[in-house]
């Protein structure tokens, strides 16, 4: 019974992405507009930078800190590219229900991270990074890329996926180290 609760709370983000796929389709045939896709993409990156900030305050583990530094630099680079692209395309990112859901979920995760300490923190942080990257990858592949209309926006999202997959493998590697 207890196991079920944990399994349910972990993929919160996945749930909200999937939910959007459904409600988005129910409300309008088209799903997300490009300004909405842009908003979700930028927000998903910002959230991971927020998680990394907490890691800098709470962790002493060099592998965890190196990972958090990589997340900060890479997600910033992605945001900069995204901003440059939407500026060029004259697309203004538009907050939508998925953006709000992502932010609400992130608040819950941040509370969890804030209250964890020491080696316990490292495991919670890295475990969340594994889950978060998995759900963001799946959201980009199954929701954002198919729904993006502009070809450049679409190919930008496609270009981001390999970095996210590398982050996922990196997080899984650190997770294995922590569990040794």
């Amino acid at each position: 019974m207890k196991k079920n609760v944990i399994q349910l709370s972990r993929p919160l983000v996945v749930a909200s992405f999937l939910l959007l796929g459904v409600t988005g389709n129910a409300q309008q045939n088209k799903g997300l507009t490009d300004p909405e896709v842009a908003s979700v993409a930028v927000t998903a990156n910002q959230i991971d930078i927020e998680f990394a900030k907490i890691a800098f305050q709470h962790s002493r583990n060099p592998e965890v800190l190196n990972f958090a530094k990589t997340m900060t630099n890479d997600h910033n680079a992605v945001i900069n590219q995204a901003v440059a692209l939407v500026t060029k395309l004259k697309v203004t990112p538009q907050t939508n229900s998925l953006t709000r859901q992502l932010l609400a979920d992130a608040e819950k995760t941040k509370k969890k991270l804030q209250s964890a300490k020491g080696a316990g923190f490292d495991k919670v942080y890295i475990g969340n990074e594994v889950a978060y990257h998995r759900s963001v990858i799946s959201a980009i592949e199954t929701v954002l890329i198919p729904q993006a209309e502009n070809a450049e926006l679409k190919s930008f999202l496609q270009a981001v996926v390999p970095a996210l997959k590398t982050h996922l493998s990196h997080a899984e590697m650190v997770e294995k180290m922590l569990n040794k």
């Binding site: 190196n66 990589t70 630099n73 890479d74 680079a77 992605v78 590219q81 270009a159 981001v160 390999p162 970095a163 997959k165 590398t166 982050h167 493998s169 990196h170 590697m173």
Partner: protein
């Protein structure tokens, strides 16, 4: 006596000629090869070169990468931003990785 002086002169001459011949030979050609860094991978990830060859690493990704010798961090580039490159003069076989993304790996074989 005369004979000896004569033959040592011949030997010196031959040595000189040999030295000149060696100096005129083209030095073993240094090749410059390229490893592209794209979509979070070193391409090719396994490269065979000769000692003294140069390998130019070029980053095509929007995120920064570096190239670091893996076993003892003997050598490392600084982080390469999009479009930047770094050249390694090969001194021996090596396993290397990106210290920013520790799962990105490559191999240099010297033959």
């Amino acid at each position: 006596m005369k004979q000896l002086a004569y033959s040592s002169g011949v030997v010196t001459g031959i040595i000189l000629l040999l030295l000149m011949w060696t100096a005129c030979q083209p030095a073993p050609r240094v090749r410059e090869l390229t490893v592209e860094i794209a979509q979070m991978q070193f391409v090719p990830a396994d490269i065979t070169v000769h000692k003294g060859d140069k390998i130019r690493f070029v980053n095509h990704d929007m995120v920064a990468h570096d190239i670091t010798e893996e076993t003892s961090k003997k050598w490392s580039s600084s982080p390469l931003q999009l479009g930047q490159s770094w050249t390694l003069e090969v001194t021996g076989s090596a396993n290397y990785y990106c210290s920013i993304h520790e799962v990105m790996k490559g191999k240099i074989r010297v033959e």
